[in-house]
């Protein structure tokens, strides 16, 4: 991975929250079907992260990637009908023990521009040694 892309920001990705998507996700994580699971935000977050991991400037080998750590800070619950935008930014890139660690913070806002949540994802690109 190329450490020089630290701080790079990517365009926001639009995501519309539907009842169907929420129900499917709730069933998958064992939550009641009429509740929006807090970690549902991973869906818009991962959609936005797709452009980061595909960025040739970053140069990550996704076949060696595992999820190292994940954090969310919620400012308000997500609701069906929300139209969200998820904007990722590379916070840091580090090497340790032959592995590379990529941390991306994604700001998730609603249609009014209010912050709904902050997501912080650390991916580990495992060494080949």
């Amino acid at each position: 991975m190329n450490q020089a892309v630290e701080g790079k920001a990517y365009p926001p990705v639009r995501y519309e929250v539907t009842t169907e998507a929420v129900r499917a996700f709730a069933a998958a994580v064992g939550e009641d079907p009429d509740r929006v699971p807090p970690t549902f935000l991973t869906v818009p977050e991962m959609t936005a992260l797709a452009q980061v991991v595909a960025d040739p400037d970053l140069g990550i080998d996704f076949s060696r990637v595992v999820h190292g750590e994940q954090a969310y800070e919620w400012r308000r619950p997500v609701l069906p009908g929300d139209v969200l935008s998820a904007a990722p930014r590379i916070e840091r890139i580090r090497s340790r023990g032959g592995h590379a660690f990529l941390t991306v913070e994604t700001e998730i806002r609603d249609r009014a521009g209010e912050v709904v949540a902050l997501a912080r994802c650390t991916l580990i690109e495992r060494g080949t040694g």
């Binding site: 499917a24 998958a28 991962m46 959609t47 076949s63 999820h67 190292g68």
Partner: protein
């Protein structure tokens, strides 16, 4: 019935929530989340990456932890923050058990800070899938 801030004490444990994950649960999570990384669906791809076979999405384990916490707290809107370091892979057939303990209480903000975790129970022992995670509840 919803949890009240007044009912909490430092050191108090969250009622643990167990779930045994099958291969079909990984497929269902992949479909629902859109994360179709072959690591979770294709044994051959998972073995090439150094695992014994497919592994569960870290976010499926974290989602289970969030379900445990919001059930106890009485609603998703009560969870303000959740941080989960993923420590060990979860394999199909494993039983994951989410839990936590109140570390500190802030009466002015009506917030509780918890240490949270998910253990993996399988033949031959137990380990942590999520260890030293942190949750903040606002009640």
């Amino acid at each position: 019935m919803s949890l009240r801030f007044e009912d909490l004490a430092e050191g108090q444990e969250v009622p643990p929530l167990a779930r045994t994950l099958g291969r079909e649960d990984l497929v269902r999570y992949a479909e629902a989340s859109g994360d179709r990384n072959p690591l979770h669906l294709d044994d051959e791809a998972a073995r090439r990456a150094g695992f014994p076979g497919v592994i569960a999405h870290g976010m499926l384990t974290m989602g289970h932890l969030a379900t445990c916490l919001t059930r106890w707290a009485g609603g998703a809107e009560r969870l303000e923050r959740l941080a989960a370091p993923f420590r060990a892979p979860v394999l199909p057939g494993d039983t994951i058990v989410a839990g936590g303990r109140v570390r500190s209480l802030d009466p002015a903000g009506r917030r509780a800070v918890l240490e949270v975790w998910v253990t993996v129970q399988r033949a031959g022992g137990a380990e942590h899938a999520i260890r030293r995670g942190e949750a903040v509840l606002r009640l």
